[in-house]
């Protein structure tokens, strides 16, 4: 039994051999005992609200960490996606054990902190400080209650447009070169979604949730990033049991890595240039391989989403077997699902509901057109911030226009069609043939559209198609 005195000297009442005969405490006995009860209450306080899904399971963590380390080894050996990605993976591996054991309320701050560290490691301290300072200022402007929502939205829009002009004019040369792309990837879409939440949410979003939304760790190595919805991210936080969530995440990361390896095979070995298209066989080869370059995007998105899962964020998948789409609306629903949801939330639904007094085909048509105009414009917006060029061209406009018309026609057709009665016996032979024909038709259509989008000019594309289809 030990009792402490004001001078922190210990007098062991039970052990008479502690001190000398004079009663002085020997040095090796002079320590300040940890107030375990106080420490436990501090941890418990911060751990309040920990759901059952977030229970600490060291064995499950070790298992997940080991599998992630294997994937990290694979990424290192095959030098997948470069230095930034490797730094991100090592940051995830280092953070995961800490993240598992911190109190529940500190999880999001720890994750945001590790995202900040990773940003600094990848882009340098100067770029990280500049980006975070600017983003903080923009988020403070978005949150301030002193201005109305519309005024804030107007100011943010004006600042964004002003920066776009400044970037085009190569002003602000004192800013680190990485500032534009990193600040762009953080804010160009997520700030709009955040403003949407501020308008419709019943209460103010906490700074912790806000920081966890803008500081997303895998974003720094994948500047071209899924448009993560704010509410989906918050709702997905430990919404399912952590082991199951992590397993799903590991599957996604592995799927993403196989996509990226497949991309390498296509890019380095199979892809030919448009100039090498001299007949039908080479045309088919080019169309297929050119489309399969999208594996890089789907691979990166799978990995990004998988990494979020490692930290308890149970998120929807980013792509769903897009090569098996059997109609244009099915394709739109399967490819880049986060973008589709972003468009539905911010463009389609508002436009459709504003037109709800009109006949449904008109409302559907206008809303669908609005979605594709917005998609075309926002892709250019994204290209500007990440690459410095708008990427607008005739072929770009034609791609989105034709795709938009096709989806519009499909939407109208689907709206008029009677829903098929689902048979308990499964699809019939005719239905399966129809489905396969639909998949083949979609593959042909999309590969053609994709090749149009990749062509420098319409003339080049027509020339290539001519060489491929017309013998001699």
């Amino acid at each position: 039994m030990v009792e402490t005195t004001q001078n922190s000297q210990i007098k062991d009442t039970a052990d008479r051999s502690v001190g000398s005969r004079s009663g002085r405490i020997l040095p090796h006995r002079q320590f300040i005992p940890v107030d375990r009860a106080a420490a436990r209450s501090w941890y418990a306080k911060l751990d309040e609200g920990r759901p059952a899904n977030a229970r600490i399971d060291a064995r499950s963590l070790l298992s997940s960490w080991t599998y992630l380390a294997i994937l990290g080894g694979l990424i290192h050996v095959y030098k997948i996606e470069g230095r930034a990605f490797e730094i991100m993976m090592w940051t995830v591996l280092a953070t995961l054990p800490i993240y598992e054991f911190v109190p529940f309320r500190l999880k999001k701050p720890v994750l945001a902190g590790s995202a900040l560290i990773a940003m600094g490691l990848i882009y340098g301290a100067a770029a990280a400080i500049t980006v975070v300072s600017f983003a903080t200022a923009m988020v403070c402007l978005a949150r301030t209650s002193k201005l109305s929502w519309h005024t804030r939205a107007g100011l943010i829009t004006a600042i964004a447009l002003g920066l776009a002009v400044a970037r085009s004019a190569e002003a602000f040369a004192f800013l680190p070169p990485a500032f534009w792309a990193v600040a762009g990837t953080m804010l160009m879409f997520r700030l709009a979604l955040y403003m949407y939440e501020l308008k419709h949410a019943k209460k103010q979003e906490t700074w912790t949730d806000t920081a966890s939304y803008f500081l997303i760790l895998p974003n720094w190595c994948f500047l071209h990033f899924p448009v993560v919805d704010y509410r989906t991210l918050q709702r997905g936080f430990y919404s399912k049991e952590i082991t199951e969530t992590r397993r799903r995440g590991l599957n996604m990361i592995f799927t993403g890595v196989t996509h990226l390896l497949g991309y390498r095979l296509v890019y380095h070995e199979l892809l030919i240039t448009p100039a090498e298209v001299v007949g039908t066989a080479t045309l088919v080869s080019y169309l297929a391989c050119n489309y399969l370059l999208y594996l890089r995007v789907s691979g990166q998105f799978h990995i990004a989403c998988g990494v979020l899962h490692m930290f308890g964020n149970h998120m929807p998948e980013t792509h769903h077997h897009y090569l098996l789409a059997n109609s244009f609306t099915d394709y739109w629903r399967r490819i880049n699902i986060y973008w589709k949801d972003f468009m539905v939330k911010t463009v389609f639904n508002p436009v459709f509901f504003r037109m709800r007094k009109r006949p449904q085909p008109v409302a559907l048509g206008v809303a669908t057109c609005a979605v594709f105009v917005a998609t075309w414009a926002l892709h250019a917006w994204q290209s500007f911030w990440l690459r410095g060029t708008w990427g607008l061209s005739v072929t770009d406009g034609l791609f989105w226009g034709i795709l938009g018309v096709a989806v519009l026609a499909n939407v109208q057709w689907d709206a008029r069609r009677k829903p098929a009665l689902r048979s308990t016996a499964g699809p019939t032979f005719t239905e399966q043939v129809r489905r396969i024909a639909g998949i083949c038709g979609m593959l042909v259509s999309i590969t053609l559209l994709w090749s149009l989008w990749s062509a420098p000019t319409l003339g080049d594309w027509l020339a290539m198609m001519g060489r491929g289809l017309i013998p001699g």
Binding site: S64, R83, L250, F254, H268, V278
Partner: protein, 388 residues
């Protein structure tokens, strides 16, 4: 499943075992030594590990650079009012930097050369050229017996694209040779004939024309893994103007291919597509013959580009062609950058040109490997023997 098995399975750690095994298998696959694998499997593995751009995108990037160079050529040509009939004179400006036109159009198969005697900045590189239009010091033409003079034929890396003259691997090598030669009262000059964008054949032609009548002791040819196909690409352009059709560099191949020049470079490119390796072999052969006719030993050094762009099997084929062509000394330095990150060695993101650090690393490997070249070694040591 029996209840006892179920309880056992519950005790085992759960996880995505199937894909983890596949991932471990891929890691092991990456480490198996090449002799234990069939050639096709080695090629597949090489593709899966390849980073950087593919050949088409590298060529496109080169075209992007050199279109920029050629644009300045076209602007010079249009200023002179003629489409490349004769080279335009450099602007008359003795003081301060000249306008950003570091190249001159020429109407032979070199297409363009560096402007002589300029001091200008273009494409983020500071260009200072000597009276011969080489990005090098102005050496006197005469050469005494105590001087060892080496000609370096190369591309934009040897020319030092993106770095200063002093940072180039050739300058570092020259300095090292000078220090070594000084102990025996000798001097060494390395004349850098490299011009950005020149194909292997164009590099030789530039040396043939600019170096004509100038005595040399040794020639070093610097190649990269982009050599295959480069001549075919340039030929498709200058042969569209009926230039170079009867040049010994290409004559043999053109006859074998039954090549008929077309004014459309794309058609020429299509006709020559399957002859890239044959063209290269004959160009290498002509370089060796041309050097040997002048009594010049010639070395072949294959250097890396930052980020790999040629498979291992293609590289082996390239080295074999160099040996078959008869180069007196053949060195492969393509693994020099293997232990480094591309981002740390490239002049900019996605670029294959090495920065100053890359040149320094390359210079060390270059110096060490050429130190063992018997023809160079014997010349450096011959005077030492005389002194003894």
């Amino acid at each position: 499943m029996k209840k006892s098995d179920g309880s056992l399975l519950r005790r085992l750690p759960k996880g995505p075992n199937s894909w983890a095994s596949f991932a471990l298998g891929l890691i092991v696959f990456a480490t198996i030594p090449e002799p234990f694998l069939p050639a096709d499997v080695v090629r597949l593995r090489d593709v899966l590990q390849r980073t950087g751009l593919n050949r088409a995108d590298y060529e496109s990037m080169e075209r992007g650079y050199y279109e920029g160079l050629l644009d300045t050529v076209r602007s010079v040509s249009s200023d002179s009012g003629k489409s490349g009939d004769k080279p335009a004179a450099p602007p008359q400006n003795e003081h301060g930097p000249t306008p950003e036109r570091p190249v001159l159009a020429v109407d032979d198969m070199r297409e363009y050369v560096l402007q002589p005697s300029i001091d200008a900045t273009a494409f983020d590189t500071h260009w200072v050229t000597n009276r011969l239009g080489l990005r090098d010091s102005d050496y006197p033409a005469e050469k005494g017996p105590e001087k060892i003079r080496i000609a370096l034929l190369g591309d934009s890396i040897a020319c030092g694209w993106g770095v200063t003259q002093a940072e180039r691997f050739e300058e570092i090598w020259e300095k090292s040779l000078r220090n070594q030669a000084r102990t025996t009262g000798q001097d060494v000059e390395v004349w850098n004939f490299a011009t950005p964008g020149h194909s292997p054949g164009q590099r030789w032609k530039n040396f043939e024309i600019v170096g004509a009548g100038i005595p040399f002791d040794l020639v070093v040819y610097e190649g990269t893994t982009s050599d295959p196909g480069w001549d075919a690409l340039r030929m498709s352009h200058f042969m569209a103007r009926s230039v170079g059709l009867d040049d010994p560099l290409y004559e043999k191949t053109l006859k074998a291919a039954g090549f008929v020049p077309n004014m459309d470079p794309k058609k020429n490119s299509a006709a020559l597509r399957n002859w890239s390796w044959t063209i290269l072999q004959n160009v290498y052969g002509r370089i060796v013959d041309g050097c040997h006719e002048q009594g010049l030993p010639v070395a072949f050094v294959l250097i890396p580009r930052v980020g790999s762009n040629l498979g291992k099997l293609e590289k082996i084929a390239l080295m074999n062609r160099a040996r078959n062509a008869g180069f007196d000394y053949v060195v492969d330095l393509t693994d020099t950058f293997d232990d480094y990150r591309d981002e740390d060695l490239a002049i900019s993101d996605g670029d294959y040109h090495p920065n100053a650090r890359g040149h320094s690393i390359l210079a060390e490997a270059w110096t060490n490997s050429l130190a063992a070249w018997p023809d160079l070694k014997s010349r450096l040591e011959s005077r030492r023997e005389q002194i003894r």
